[in-house]
Symmetry: C2
């Protein structure tokens, strides 16, 4: 077999895997957007079959042999072929390390844990969820031990957390995350307290009112189009929970949910999901149907959604451009609203109990709570039964608020019930990367933010396309950041961004 033949064989494999995974994504999208309720059973079977076939094909011995042969073949390192080989090796290693038996066991246990989680939420009591979660957690630990990607010189809990991160955030280590969270805590906890100390009116009240859905939809279509989301290569639909999914660089779907009485929910969800969508629409066309043509990780994906939602969509420049449009659509609510009031409203910061409702200042503190509890569970310092107490204590310490029951506490997120341990840090990784990329873009592109006020978002998108999107998964998270910012995962630009923005918004002493 020549190198070219080996590469063509590898391509055939990854293309088949891609098509199966993308088909599963179409079925998943349909399930959430269109499917009649009763179709659930068949849909789960169909998606299960597609995923099983994709996994079996990707992790077959032939893939490993082809990758070995091509790694030894001296392909030009910056070429498409080498990129495909590197990116395929990454997903191949990730998938092959998790034994099929454990995948099935985790799926079954997650099914039971999800049912228990629903029941626990109805009773608002963690104890109803705990036994099923404990079983699931045991299996996730088995997965972590099977993957065994952690640095060997660490304690067991850190090694295991490293393994789980390897599956979701290749290149990012637990030690790095601990440093990031330590910096964020020391900067954000005092900032939250300072904002709280200012007291003052409820700035967010401006966003409440009566906002007919069709007018909301017209507006958010205009907004996502303005930032560059291409509706000829994508769609916007409705679903219970907003999400983004993609079937190809030319077929990217986002969904939102409308709240007739609140302007911000659907609008910012749309900017957020469109941010994900812009990444997908910008992935390298030459690497279609290969792992090189995919996003780096969920954390990097989240950086794109948060960049467009927060650093762009909640900026003064954005609202200088968009407020007149919004005033025209909703004269009763915003006819008299000043630019200053609007910017303050969309940036209102206040500690709350629920992560998904959190603002930019408090959001990462919600993640710290979860990260520390997960590490405690893996280390055995914390039992499953103790989670609610730890939750209350940490929420009080970092955010100054305490849940009155577990529904407002440890039962609020779906992640743990589906086996998603070590999944929460991706949100913070996203915030941190968003600020780092935005700072780098500002340094590269003169007048970047000033352009927003004129509705000019293309310079930012072009920069992201060049430095991130068009590279696909050639580099992992840390390597990509190293190339673009000269540093790895560094929270400093995020801290500076938050401090500057919210000190000004809340007239804090610097």
């Amino acid at each position: 077999m020549t190198t070219e033949e080996a590469y063509q064989r590898l391509l055939a494999i990854v293309q088949e895997v891609n098509d199966l995974e993308r088909a599963a994504a179409v079925l998943g999208w349909d399930q959430q957007v269109n499917m009649p309720m009763r179709g659930n059973r068949a849909r789960a079977e169909q998606i299960g079959t597609l995923r099983r076939l994709a996994h079996a094909r990707l992790t077959s011995p032939e893939t490993g042999e082809l990758l070995d042969r091509l790694a030894a073949a001296d392909l030009p390192p910056d070429g498409l072929e080498a990129g495909v080989v590197v990116a395929t090796r990454r997903v191949y290693e990730r998938e092959r390390r998790v034994p099929e038996r454990l995948v099935t066991a985790v799926e079954l246990a997650a099914g039971e844990a999800f049912e228990a989680w629903l029941a626990a939420r109805r009773e608002r009591r963690w104890a109803v969820f705990a036994p099923a979660f404990e079983r699931l957690l045991g299996l996730v630990v088995e997965v972590a031990d099977a993957v065994a990607a952690g640095a060997p010189d660490q304690d067991l809990a850190h090694r295991r957390y490293d393994s789980l991160l390897y599956l979701s955030e290749p290149g990012v280590t637990t030690a790095r995350l601990e440093a990031v969270f330590a910096t964020l805590k020391s900067a954000l906890v005092p900032l939250v307290q300072a904002i709280q100390a200012k007291g003052g009116e409820d700035r967010e009240r401006l966003l409440h009112g009566d906002f007919p859905e069709d007018r909301q939809e017209a507006l958010l279509r205009r907004a996502v189009t303005a930032i560059g989301f291409d509706l000829e290569r994508g769609r916007i639909d409705r679903s219970v929970h907003p999400f983004e999914t993609s079937f190809d660089v030319d077929d990217v779907r986002i969904t939102v949910r409308y709240d007739r009485n609140h302007f911000g929910r659907a609008f910012f969800a749309a900017l957020h999901e469109a941010g994900h969508g812009l990444y997908e629409q910008g992935l390298p066309r030459a690497a279609r149907r290969t792992p090189l043509g995919r996003a780096i990780s969920s954390g990097v994906h989240e950086s794109q959604s948060r960049l467009w939602e927060n650093l762009v969509g909640r900026s003064e420049g954005f609202w200088r451009h968009f407020l007149p449009v919004v005033r025209e659509a909703f004269p009763a609510a915003f006819g008299e609203a000043s630019l200053d009031a609007m910017v303050r409203a969309v940036n209102a910061a206040r500690p709350s109990l629920i992560r998904v409702e959190a603002d930019e200042v408090t959001y990462n503190l919600h993640i710290v709570v979860r990260f520390e509890i997960e590490l405690g569970l893996l280390a055995g310092d914390l039992t499953v039964a103790d989670v609610p107490a730890a939750w209350r204590e940490k929420m009080a310490a970092y955010l100054g608020v305490t849940p009155t029951d577990d529904l407002e506490g440890a039962l609020q997120d779906i992640h743990w019930s589906s086996g998603g341990i070590a999944a929460f840090p991706s949100y913070t990784i996203g915030n941190v990367i968003a600020a780092a990329l935005f700072a780098a873009a500002k340094a590269d592109v003169p007048q970047l933010e000033e352009g927003f006020a004129r509705g000019e978002f293309a310079p930012l998108l072009d920069w992201l396309r060049t430095h991130l999107h068009s590279l696909g998964a050639r580099y992992d998270t840390e390597a990509m950041l190293e190339r673009v910012t000269g540093r790895g995962l560094d929270p400093e630009p995020y801290v500076r961004y938050i401090r500057d923005k919210f000190s000004a918004l809340y007239d804090l002493d610097r």
Copy 2:
């Protein structure tokens, strides 16, 4: 391997094949209902991969070995297992006889023929389509020769046509079709002439007017629900061409297209597609994910759509029940319409050039034209270049009308351009079976048609569920008819139904 183990192995195979095929169906539905235009390329690749994997799995030697072993295993003949084995054997034989090489060659040639067909339609000239069609036809002949399912004592054209029918209508022979078409021609050609001779006003004019789409939609939802289509196990959407597709017995999708200026188009399309959907929703749940849990053939499928669209939806009883509802929805158009005028309008019969606009009396004559031309092409009595002339001649002889160009003639249907030779007879088979089943149901169920006037359609649906839907693909077309009506494919009930109905509607001497 025990019989039970062999059966479980077979089940695993057919379930995987089912899930792949159903996933391809979801992708196809999305393509026609939602997909952004630019997504076409990736979608074709994805559907191609799913179909290829399904075909390879179904036709693997293991399937054949398991089927042989199970056929020899003395399974109880009326049991689920025997049914699965018989139905799987049928699709296995069908798929395995067509070599993979030919499948690919036909797909490629069909892609070119489709492009040529579009170009020919723009120029309204058959000659633009002819060369690509000739190549495609050559490959279809190769397929027919590979399948070699025709009765050996016939000429080559009949043997080949039998082979192609075997792929779409197992159990139905060319000889049987020739007899059916001969009966239909001798009954229908004089009937069309008699109706034409009566002259008279344009009865169909009543259906023209202004019908806002949302009200049309509300009305057709009510109609399809009334006949029993379960919207908790299905959906209605919009697409350029109405169709039905199903992903499971609990997830059946139908689509319609609205014409704001014509009441009948979307309404009868909805009844038609809902008829297909009722069949799918009634297939045996115990045989889910197996070939036994599927429809018998496209002809039998068509019998269900036509039964509900025509024998129910265009009956006087139906309109006795539904006219008040329609009057309320569209008072301007129908406020003054009498029951008699409405029934005459929805049954207006007049020879036309276009098959998809044809009424119940003339429809099968359009099929005869195509059937005879196809046989002529396979026999070599007719060249591809001669098709338009043959078309004109036959249309004049059977329907008394002649197309002014090929767009109104042999270029009107998509079927030939995609390699669909011997596909048209399924429509006539559907009409003939619909009448035969309806006659049998009337003989079994007292007051069946009288119930329609009271909105009672469940007795008919129950009868169809018992005698057809719930049996899945246990019997082929002829065997099913034999069981239910005591005869095979027999046009006599259809001829009687059409003669009785239209003699009354047009006051013809009997």
